[in-house]
């Protein structure tokens, strides 16, 4: 047992190392890192312009010029697949932390506050959760348009609501413990108690929850694009590509398979990472003492 200072950075380093030691963690982190790198670097690496239409061959199969063939407008599938995650990752990558922060803080505060503000808020949360998932998004987008400036706040707001539940439950668990009573007895201000005592104990749960939220949000984003409510053409997006290409599935299946594989590998990566994170932080099952 080392007596070395345990700073946040050191702890994060330790957690990362433990995660990489697990096969699920290693694969997951690799996939996520790969996709992030792809999203960042792809504009400089792609062979073609995503809009460029090759008049010579639409729905062509794989060839030396087009490794994954072309779509119904003659655009290079490989290019569009490589670029297809950028918008999704950008928007969800910002919306997820925002959802986590607002949902997490609201949930923790409610867990502490209790009483009737808590009751009222939970009824509201239940009511919002009762709405069929995709609906509010569809409605807002229909009215306000499909730009990122609409998608981002919408996603952040609606995906933050389930986080309130999780954060509240975690806060409840922490508040019952004596070190909170000790802090109250010393007379610390409630805000200080939240900041110093409660939040550090709740962040683990929120991190795992955040990873899961991110994968949900990506799926939701792709579904929106698929339905035509997300990214607008001609910009490339995996969901949109599947929607366009499915009509021609029998002729050029790669147009569907490629974006599917891309999206699936990213989601699998995130889920595996979340799984490994949960196991490393000891959140999947309480460990009993051996002796």
């Amino acid at each position: 047992m080392s007596g070395a200072a345990i700073s946040v950075r050191a702890r994060a380093g330790g957690v990362l190392r433990d995660m990489l030691a697990r096969p699920s963690g290693a694969i997951g982190l690799f996939l996520v890192t790969f996709h992030l790198a792809l999203a960042i670097l792809s504009p400089w690496v792609v062979p073609y312009d995503y809009k460029a239409m090759d008049a010579t061959g639409t729905l062509a199969g794989p060839s030396a010029a087009h490794w994954l063939g072309t779509d119904h407008l003659g655009r290079d599938v490989l290019t569009r697949v490589m670029l297809g995650g950028r918008e999704a990752l950008l928007i969800t990558g910002i919306a997820t932390p925002v959802a986590l922060v607002w949902g997490g803080l609201a949930g923790v505060w409610l867990g502490l506050r209790g009483g009737w503000p808590d009751e009222v808020a939970m009824r509201l949360v239940d009511a919002f959760l009762a709405l069929p998932g995709i609906l509010p998004l569809l409605v807002l987008i229909t009215v306000f348009g499909t730009g990122g400036e609409v998608l981002l706040p919408t996603l952040a707001f609606f995906f933050g609501i389930p986080v309130i539940r999780v954060a509240r439950a975690a806060a409840h668990e922490v508040v019952a413990r004596d070190f909170i009573s000790a802090a109250r007895a010393r007379g610390h201000r409630p805000l200080d108690i939240v900041r110093r005592e409660i939040l550090p104990n709740v962040t683990d749960t929120l991190l795992v929850e955040g990873a899961m939220r991110w994968s949900w949000m990506l799926l939701g984003f792709s579904a929106l694009s698929f339905l035509g409510f997300g990214v607008s053409p001609p910009r490339p997006d995996w969901g949109l590509m599947v929607s366009d290409a499915r009509v021609y599935m029998s002729l050029a299946p790669l147009g569907v398979i490629a974006p599917v594989v891309a999206l699936s590998t990213l989601i699998i990566g995130i889920n595996l990472t979340a799984d490994a994170l949960a196991k490393t932080l000891g959140l999947d099952r309480a460990r009993k003492a051996v002796i």
């Binding site: 047992m1 007596g3 070395a4 200072a5 345990i6 413990r177 004596d178 070190f179 009573s181 000790a182 802090a183 109250r184 007895a185 010393r186 007379g187 610390h188 409630p190 110093r196 005592e197 550090p200 104990n201 009993k288 051996v290 002796i291």
Partner: protein, 677 residues
């Protein structure tokens, strides 16, 4: 000495688990245990000694992660680790029964009691299934549970701790066992309940000629029930022998130190503390495991592990110098620092606290309110004095502390400091200076320290809040505080998860003293600690009290600890004071009937001392609406006046107050309980 082989015969057992580095870390080192039919053997040890592991191994069971490295565990001649599952299942719960530590968790929550007992009957008896119900009722009657029919229909969570434990005993008896393994079965139970259950077990063992293996950390319990004793230390048997010999003249220094660390109801002295920690499984050991902490250790002890040596009185000790071990009575602790006189520092008058608040519906219906959880509490704490609050579960002692600390709102009465500061306000609304003067330490050190903060951070909280210290001055002060609780400055950067229970509690003490308080509220702070660690903490508190003149309000269910530390004592039952006054006076007759019951139930590590069971072991949910709080269980209730009128406060010659309807002369004349020996 019969030639019969022992019923339970464990020899050379080595058990270990695979550590993080991959190495096999041993938990039990070649332990032997032999129990004959009808014999009761106690296994004594502190946490981490491996005693539970040993007892369960007798059933051929090891907890997940443990593996048997060597040795045999036989029951009735059969090797339990080699038996096939069906055979094993036949013996377990049948001829060899187990009473678990926490019956509340060990009974299946979704099955009724009747179903669970019937299951045992079905598995281990040949009787006609139709007769199961009657047999179950019979078993419940044997464990002295009233109203067996109702209990059979209940679910485990609907019973009290004592009732659950009795059900577990009944379930084990259903298999008509020849031997019983008891894994700390009275831990967590009230003192009086514990005394009843032990008496029951003793009676059953005698009637049925059952062998018993009794695991406990409590030597008082062992003294009650066992003929022979095994003492385990860090996974090794260090001492084995007849109970009387081991408890009076132990032949091993560890056993002697353990006995000296137990506070007794006798002379008012602090128990002797044992410094240091037992070795953990990952530490390599050469020589005697106890050598680092032993006053008799020589280089020979440290060089090679001592073999077992026999003594004339029938003990076997793993020690090179068994005849040099000082008897426990010879090592007396210090007398506690005596109080300074003066005006009271902290007082409460007629304090009452409620937990319930009736909902709107109940109020509309005009239902009268339930009696307050705690009522009529008059306390006074003087500077430098330790006031003990003693009582069992439901006595409201923790509630009173929380009200004083401002964590619970008082429903009535007053709490105040000497200079007139009113403490009846919530902690959030008190001034920092007021808060600083009263600090609180909690029971469970695992819970009262934030697992994500380093020790330095934890100590910095009060320093920053009350004195505005930051940075290096803060750290320096924190290091000083650690010194006063005898922890080195290198602990500053450790997380609570890296500390032992005793070390964590010391940090909690340091944190309380960081504020420089005038009064410290201690809520069962030693109840979760091993005996030797408890002694160290008590010594520490005494030291701090002598140095700073701090007053303590010390809450505990353990009479002996309260006696050792307190200047004045108040005995509580169901949230009301029964008796209060200077410690010596309260512990000497005359007693309130409840104090009598409590004193009678105290166990001493002395085989000649038997507890007296004076009242029924019934758990009460709430105090009675009127009259004396003890009316429902009092063995000397004098009539309906106890149910209608609040008992008057009667003052004795030596300055303590008893609240009872029975006049003092009559109380004095009764056969009184535990006198100072």
């Amino acid at each position: 000495m019969t030639a019969q082989p022992p019923l339970i015969d464990i020899s050379g057992l080595r058990v270990g688990f695979r550590g993080r580095s991959g190495a096999m870390l041993p938990v039990l080192h070649e332990v032997d245990l032999a129990v004959r039919r009808g014999e009761s053997v106690g296994i004594v040890g502190e946490s981490g000694s491996g005693k539970s592991t040993l007892a369960l191994a007798a059933m051929g069971y090891l907890r997940h992660g443990l593996a048997r490295l060597d040795g045999v565990a036989r029951f009735d001649g059969q090797d339990m680790f080699a038996l096939a599952q069906p055979e094993l299942a036949r013996i377990r719960g049948g001829k060899l029964g187990l009473i678990p530590q926490n019956s509340g968790q060990a009974l299946t929550p979704t099955q009724r009691i009747g179903a669970q007992i019937a299951e045992s009957l079905r598995l281990h008896c040949d009787h006609d299934p139709a007769s199961h119900r009657d047999r179950a009722c019979d078993l419940l009657a044997q464990v002295r549970l009233p109203d067996p029919d109702t209990i059979l229909r209940r679910y485990p969570h609907e019973l009290s701790g004592g009732q659950q434990q009795r059900v577990a005993i009944a379930m084990a008896l259903a298999g008509e066992p020849e031997a019983l393994l008891l894994d700390e079965p009275t831990t967590g139970l009230d003192v009086t309940t514990q005394a009843h259950i032990l008496a029951l077990l003793r009676g059953l063992a005698r009637e049925r000629d059952m062998a018993m293996v009794y695991v406990s950390h409590d030597l008082g319990v062992i003294a009650q029930v066992c003929d022979r004793v095994h003492v385990l230390y860090a996974g090794e048997t260090v001492l084995a022998g007849p109970a009387r010999a081991v408890l009076t003249t132990p032949a091993h220094p560890y056993a002697s130190a353990l006995l000296a660390a137990i506070p007794g109801l006798g002379d008012r002295a602090l128990p002797r503390a044992l410094e240091g920690r037992p070795p953990t499984p990952d530490m390599a050991r050469t020589g005697c495991a106890f050598a680092p902490r032993c006053g008799l250790a020589t280089d020979d002890c440290r060089a090679a592990a001592p073999p077992m040596a026999s003594t004339p009185d029938g003990q076997r000790a793993r020690c090179l110098y068994p005849d040099k071990v000082a008897p426990p009575a010879a090592s007396q602790g210090d007398r506690p620092a005596t109080a300074a006189d003066g005006p009271p520092l902290l007082t409460t008058q007629a304090l009452s606290v409620r937990y319930d608040s009736p909902g709107l519906l109940a109020r509309l219906r005009g239902r009268s309110r339930a009696p307050a959880t705690v009522a009529g509490i008059d306390l006074a704490l003087r500077r430098g004095e330790t006031l003990g609050l003693v009582g069992e579960s439901g006595s409201g002692k923790s509630t009173i502390l929380r009200a004083i600390a401002g964590l619970l709102p008082p429903a009535g009465g007053q709490i105040g400091l000497a200079d007139g500061t009113d403490l009846a306000t919530a902690a959030e609304r008190r001034r920092p200076e007021t808060l600083r003067r009263i600090q609180m330490i909690f029971q469970n050190p695992d819970e009262s320290l934030n697992p994500r903060q380093t020790v330095g951070d934890i100590l910095a909280q009060p320093l920053r809040l009350y004195f505005g210290l930051r940075g290096q001055p803060c750290r320096d002060r924190a290091a000083d505080l650690l010194e006063t609780v005898r922890l080195g400055a290198h602990y500053l950067d450790r997380l609570p998860g890296q500390l032992s229970g005793g070390e964590k509690q010391r940090v909690a003490v340091a944190r309380a003293f960081a504020a420089g308080p005038e009064a410290v509220l201690c809520d069962e702070i030693t109840s979760a600690l091993d005996v030797s660690v408890q002694a160290a903490v008590l010594e520490l508190l005494n030291d701090l009290k002598a140095r700073h003149g701090t007053g303590f309000v010390f809450v505990s269910h353990d009479l002996t600890v309260v006696r050792a530390l307190s200047d004045r004592v108040a005995v509580l039952y169901q949230g009301r004071i029964c008796e209060a006054g200077p410690t010596d006076a309260v512990f000497a007759p005359p007693h309130h009937p409840y104090t009598d019951v409590l004193l009678g139930a105290v166990l001493a590590p002395d085989p000649d001392h038997a507890p007296r069971l004076l009242a029924e072991d019934a758990a009460e949910l709430s105090p009675p609406a009127r009259g004396c709080p003890f009316q429902r269980r009092c063995p000397v209730k004098c009539g309906t006046i106890c149910e209608t009128d609040t008992p008057p406060a009667r003052e004795t010659a030596d300055g303590h107050v008893i609240r009872c309807h029975i006049p003092l002369a009559d109380l004095r004349g009764r056969e009184t309980g535990q006198t100072a020996s």
